[in-house]
């Protein structure tokens, strides 16, 4: 029902929607590229700082353009056509100013990096506001547009060739520039982010790379501003990179994933913007709210991607780690049950098996844990019912034999090499779960295949090496 409603919304997409998605994707991908390196340099907040600091740069650049125009150096058309170049120059300069100023403030003022940044970018932003106030009548800057951006409106300006929206054109070009610069200087960016000292000692100026990155970030941010606004652009800069960082351990792959996340956020974001509010708010009694800001929803979507990566990322994901841990714990409980049944069989060869209560008491585990382990063991056909009790099957006995063999070999190994060490059993109780066939054979070789452990118990022989003779206990 809800799905159908969402589909209805999405089915109404037209060329405009496609351009919105394409522009959003281009902007976010362009931002994700420098974002990866900012994140790895642990300077993510630099993006926020630069996005504010560029304001005075933009205003000054526009003023300079007007001054040139007033002197007659630029005619009206030249001014209009070089508007972006002027903006970019102002932004790039301010990006570098912000980086240089915060760095020198950190050194001279003995502030930590965050505090220095806080001082610099708020001052620059305030200066920008002041300048805007001074020239408000002559320059047209819409503060709303600066803060939130209006992706939906910018694509309506289809002044580019073949009706391609200008906003898409400029963001796509920015993406190409970023891609080109980062490909060219890939190894220089990598070494200066990873080990600035080494970079300098092999002749790569880490600070030059840093300023290049700052300039690139500033220009990228200004490009994306118009479409998505100065606040949301920070999400585009950082979130795809952070998501990718959770998913991989390789830099090229991280950059690739961040691009995919960026593009998908644009698609999902616009889908959310057109479909979600109608579906959601009509149920909450506000049917008049039919859509939301696409750039906002792109940020929400990338946030969701990040959440997904943080929860389910293969190595770092919280859920994945919990699951892996739980699986390990369950396996250890199961192996403990096998070991317990095997030892009991050794001690009381005539007993049929052992009851659940007795197993639980011996291992000190809870009813639910025990039930789960027994159930799984039975499905694996490693244990079976013997009246009210449980006993090992032939298959189970083989596993148990390996486990107990590991345990006792480990005890022998410890006793031989660390004679003063107590707590043999406790150590072996932990280690037995992690000894594989290779290690077990190696232990046996090193100890000359002993037959008894330090406590005098017989070390069961290797199931593989045994003949099929004495398995009648299980049958």
């Amino acid at each position: 029902m809800v799905l159908f409603e969402i589909w209805n919304h999405l089915a109404r997409w037209n060329a405009i929607d496609a351009w919105i998605v394409a522009t959003g994707a281009a902007a976010s991908m362009a931002c994700a590229l420098p974002g990866c390196f900012l994140l790895l340099r642990r300077q993510s907040m630099m993006g926020d700082a630069i996005s504010h600091s560029v304001l005075p740069g933009i205003v000054l650049a526009l003023l300079a353009g007007q001054a040139l125009h007033a002197r007659g150096w630029f005619d009206e058309r030249a001014l209009a056509s070089s508007r972006h170049a002027i903006l970019f120059a102002g932004a790039a300069v301010m990006g570098i100013v912000c980086a240089v100023a915060s760095e020198s403030l950190r050194r001279v003022g003995r502030l930590d990096a965050g505090a220095a940044l806080g001082v610099v970018f708020t001052s620059l932003f305030a200066l920008g506001l002041l300048l805007m106030r001074l020239v408000a009548d002559t320059i047209d800057i819409d503060p709303d547009c600066v803060l939130y951006g209006t992706l939906e409106n910018t694509v309506l300006d289809r002044s580019g060739p073949q009706g391609i929206p200008a906003a898409f054109g400029i963001n796509a070009r920015m993406l190409c520039v970023n891609g080109l610069v980062l490909t060219m200087f890939f190894k220089e960016f990598r070494i200066s982010a990873f080990d600035p000292a080494l970079a300098r000692s092999v002749g790569v100026s880490a600070s030059a790379m840093h300023y290049l990155l700052m300039a690139l970030t500033a220009v990228t941010l200004v490009t994306a501003f118009e479409s998505v606004g100065s606040i949301l652009v920070i999400a585009m800069l950082i979130v795809p990179a952070a998501t990718a960082h959770l998913l991989t351990d390789r830099l090229p792959r991280m950059i690739g994933i961040s691009l995919v996340v960026a593009a998908s956020s644009a698609l999902v974001g616009h889908a959310l913007a057109t479909a979600a509010p109608g579906v959601l708010f009509s149920r909450l009694g506000h049917p008049e709210i039919q859509d939301a800001s696409t750039s906002g929803m792109i940020a929400v979507a990338s946030g969701l991607f990040f959440l997904g990566a943080a929860l389910f990322g293969p190595r770092h994901g919280i859920v994945s780690r919990r699951l892996a841990r739980a699986r390990l714990e369950n396996r250890m409980v199961r192996e403990d049950v096998l070991g317990h049944l095997f030892r009991r069989k050794e001690r009381f060869p005539d007993a049929a098996g052992d009851s659940l209560a007795s197993i639980r008491a011996a291992l000190g585990i809870r009813v639910r844990t025990a039930r789960a382990a027994m159930g799984r063991l039975r499905r694996m056909r490693w244990i079976e019912r013997a009246g009210p009790d449980w006993r090992l099957t032939r298959l189970g006995e083989e596993s148990a034999r390996r486990l107990v063999r590991s345990h006792r070999l480990w005890e022998s190994y410890l006793a031989r090499n660390y004679p003063s060490r107590g707590a043999l059993h406790e150590s072996a109780e932990r280690v037995e779960h992690f000894i594989d066939d290779d290690l077990r054979n190696q232990l046996a070789r090193e100890l000359d295949s002993p037959s008894r452990d330090p406590h005098g118990s017989v070390i069961p022989s290797d199931p593989e090496a045994r003949d099929e003779g004495d398995t009648k206990a299980v049958d």
Partner: protein
């Protein structure tokens, strides 16, 4: 910031060698925030030797290396590598920084890190081609780490991480190596690998300066020793210089005069 001027006596090395020394330091003073960290160092490293730099914490051992590599500004003095400024000799110097100096969560493999040692030779804007990757792998092999080439560096033990750093320095194929505590916090196996490697380097004519903490192994591992405590206490062959008197001078409290002068600079001259 100029805060030198012969407060301590010069221990001038004798000049007049035919071949320039791998590392010659003259009048080197480095100050952080007006407080001198190392003071008036004069030192000339002999060629083809393993040299330990020894001194208490805060003696300025790492600072001395960093100043030699232009990593931090020198307040006064000059450093020459094979008779010329470091700037023109980058390719001949291999640096092994302290292990804590980098972010081990960085998404690079052991091989990537070793390949960084080759960047100077690869040159700007050129990719790391297969040929260089092979060289990096060969360097990893020399420290017994070839099987870990594709591991992300966080997934290596401390000793293995240190070996990756060494492999990187090897890949640089330098003539002078500066190593900042390569033995810090490594396991016994790695320590042996490092010692073997140092001897290898020496027998191929390289000069190696190592910041070292373990006084017990100085005599076994090194030919020469530099005793440093803000100022150069003594330098020379281990059997001549590594004496109880010199060690007491190095470790037995700061030198009183120097400390007083140093403190004045903390508050600024004239107070």
């Amino acid at each position: 910031m100029r805060a030198s001027n012969g407060a301590a006596a010069r221990t001038g090395p004798d000049d007049g060698r035919s071949e320039p020394s791998p590392l010659s330091i003259r009048d080197l003073t480095v100050a952080y925030h007006l407080k001198p960290v190392i003071w008036d160092i004069d030192y000339e490293a002999p060629s083809g030797r393993l040299i330990a730099i020894v001194g208490p914490n805060g003696a300025g051992k790492s600072t001395m290396l960093a100043a030699c590599l232009d990593l931090i500004p020198r307040t006064t003095g000059e450093v020459r590598i094979f008779g010329r400024p470091f700037r023109s000799q980058r390719g001949r110097v291999g640096y092994v920084p302290q292990r804590e100096s980098v972010d081990w969560d960085f998404p690079v493999s052991a091989l990537d890190v070793v390949a960084m040692g080759l960047y100077h030779r690869i040159g700007w804007c050129r990719p790391v081609t297969r040929r260089y990757r092979r060289e990096a792998l060969a360097a990893l092999e020399r420290v017994g780490m070839a099987e870990f080439a594709s591991r992300q560096i966080r997934q290596l033990s401390g000793g293995q991480q240190q070996r990756v750093f060494l492999a990187r320095a090897l890949a640089q194929d330098a003539d002078l190596y500066l190593m900042d505590e390569p033995f810090a916090g490594v396991d016994a196996a790695t320590e042996l690998v490092i010692v073997d490697l140092l001897r290898d380097l020496r027998s191929s004519g390289k000069t190696v300066l190592v910041v070292h903490h373990d006084l017990q192994t100085v005599e076994e591992y090194f030919d020469e020793v530099v005793l440093l405590n803000m100022r150069l206490v003594a330098a020379g062959p281990v059997e001549q210089v590594f004496t109880p008197q010199n060690l007491r001078k190095t470790y037995g409290g700061r030198l009183a005069l120097l400390d007083r002068v140093g403190n004045r600079f903390t508050f600024g001259p004239g107070e």
